[in-house]
Amino acid sequence: MKVKINNQLVEVAEGITIMEACRLAGIHVPSLCYLKDVSQNASCGVCVVEVKGARSLLRSCITGVTEGMEIMTNSPRAMETRKVNVELLLANHPQDCLICDRNGNCELQLLTFTLGINERRFVRTRREQYTKDESSLSLVRDPEKCILCGRCVAVCSDVQNVKAIDFSGRGLKTRIATFLDAGLGHVACTNCGQCALVCPTGAITEKSCVAEVRALLQQPGKVVLVQTAPAVRVGIGEAMGMPYGSLVTGQMVAGLRRLGFTKVFDTNFAADLTIVEEANELLRRIQTGGTLPMITSCSPGWVKFIEHFYPEQLGHLSTCKSPQQMFGAVAKTYYAEKTGIDPRDIVVVSVMPCTAKKYEARRPEMDGAYLYWKERLNLTEEERFYDVDYALTTRELARMFREAGIEFTRLPEEAFDNPLGESTGAAVIFGTTGGVMEAALRTAYELYTGKKPDTIDFNAVRGLRGIREADIDLNGTILKVAVANTLKNAGLLLDQIKKGTSPYTFIEVMTCPGGCLGGGGQPIPTNEEIRERRAASIYQEDAHKMIRKSHENPEIKRIYEDFLQEPLGERSHHLLHTHYQERGFETGIILGENP
């Protein structure tokens, strides 16, 4: 089909929108509320174009192309209207860009600049002054900065099927709100942070703990250990101005050392530990008639989701703690014992691609190390400590690097400290959807068959599609597995289990699109193309690792010999496994939420 865009004749496919046609033709139409694969509200009026013969300007994000259409994206009328529409949004938007979390990375700011808006012509029309919603442990909402584009609502309801927020009120009083304006911390929010990732302004951000971490780094006598999740090494480079998906493990380690962390460790070590425990748990469930399918439990948004929405199926969830929590528990017991450091002096900071990890770290049951030491050191209730003290997002780490004047791209590559920095390729792929499954299969195969598999690349579970399934041949026994990313897809698999039609034995669920590499704490923007690049880097790191199976990690072997004794053993039970709680929400509001 032929259309004319800005007087250029272009051949376009049928059934696409004007915006898609323009972008394919290399013509940029600005947009704001539109977000590919997420939202198509057509509410902001920024993407308007002039079409010959049409009475009014058309919103290019929702209007399909037709044969012979003559489109002008930069006619005076289209440009002027676009500008006015943004100016109107600015009328109710605060003017505190300089001190905003999203300064320099704000779509509204960028639009204002690119559209050449250089004055504020319209006065504020909204009468209310909204207060920040700081009730959540993971996220902060500032409705004052909200421009009502609806992207957060779309991602929460259509991608995650959580529906924690929606438009409420009408006219000037329209705002994004939780049920009864109770606040994110008091409703069934999973803390996934996808809303923060898609917000074009600073209206939703993570609850930062940069100041607390910085203070601890200065405190004498504290041993501040940092652990980095697998997806951070393919994200942090972007936030420091490098190309999408840059693999910067070595520079990240160097940067963390320069920030002053006592030891730079790797969550990947704990990921290997998770795999050994989880593969053994799976086999035990298969052999002893336990609850199947077993579902992974590394993703804290997912864990909270099932606790809220499918509490009757909690038995399917692996009892393994997530790698972040295993790391904390091991660092404050095993590592403390090994080095003779008082566990009360150890601070564990994690860097995560995730906002839900902040909540996870504050779950009251995540105090395995404290309970371990309680009798041994006669600890009082006041001395109680969490296994993980603070969880920073990738974005927060970038902020710390910037503030410390670290020239990230010029850093040398350095290696993690030992012993909790030793890891395998199996651990790296935890950062992508399908990775935990593949890592578990690499170990489970050998545990189950006693043989080495022909290949350890389980390609069937790779990729970024929403749900993937595979039949894994364990030397004659077929293991049916499924991998889901996004909570909506996870819900589909749970519905299947509910109906009794689930054919699977083992399921991996990741909360965010693409898994952790697309997590709510990752650099902004994060979209499909960027997720693909990050995934490629993750598999690249895996391919280049000398050891690619978790159970072959020498430090993992050592921790079992010296400390844990055996997988699923007594010590593992106390330190590496957890339990879940039903979080029904009949009242719509969870009182006393937030441990």
């Binding site: 529906k163 409420s168 009408r170 049920f179 009864l180 409703v187 009949e586 009242t587 719509g588």
Partner: protein, 180 residues
């Protein structure tokens, strides 16, 4: 008067209302409307919204979204008598702003034009003042609705009489209660 928030519509009544509308288009709107009607203070407390969401299996946020969108739904307890002043253009030019101020003064309500509250209720819970954008009765402007009846060509004196009458009825009731 904290006790009044406990006056929620019972689960059985909500069940009965839902049973009549389940599966029909607009079932949420009709349910909200009828449940509010059943409430002693003509409003939808949070517990009730949650109950309706749970029973209709509609997301809580959606129920809240709908209940806050339509000015018909009250999220705060309403007075026994509702006075709705039309603030449409026609009524405005005929002085509805002055009428609104009059009523507020008469009932001892402090109203601020910059205040965005949608309704005001007297402490004795007898009267609630609300405004509406247009009743569609512009030819009779200014119009004021009292307890569901629209009064046309209202002026201050007419208004006084109406309020007086409503008050008088209330006092009579009180006396008759007292003598029983």
């Amino acid at each position: 008067m904290e006790t009044r928030t406990k006056d929620t519509v019972s689960g059985n009544i909500i069940d009965e209302i839902i049973a009549r509308h389940r599966g029909k288009p607009g079932m949420l709107l009709t349910t909200l409307e009828e449940v509010q009607e059943q409430n002693q203070f003509k409003y939808l407390p949070g517990e009730t919204l949650a109950e309706i969401a749970g029973k209709l299996k509609i997301p809580y946020t959606q129920v809240y979204s709908v209940a806050t969108f339509y000015s018909y739904f009250n999220l705060k307890p309403q007075g026994k008598h509702a006075i709705v002043v039309c603030r449409g253009t026609a009524c405005h030019t005929k002085g509805s702003k002055a009428l609104l101020d009059d009523i507020a003064a008469n009932l001892g309500i402090h109203r601020d034009d910059n205040d965005t509250d949608s309704s005001y209720t007297t402490p004795d819970n007898l009267f609630t003042i609300r405004t509406v954008a247009c009743f569609g009765q512009c030819a009779q402007s200014p119009v004021v609705e009292v307890d569901g009846v629209i009064h046309s060509n209202v002026n201050s004196r007419k208004l006084q009489t109406m309020l007086h009458r409503v008050r008088g009825e209330e006092t009579k009731k009180e006396i008759s209660y007292a003598t029983v």
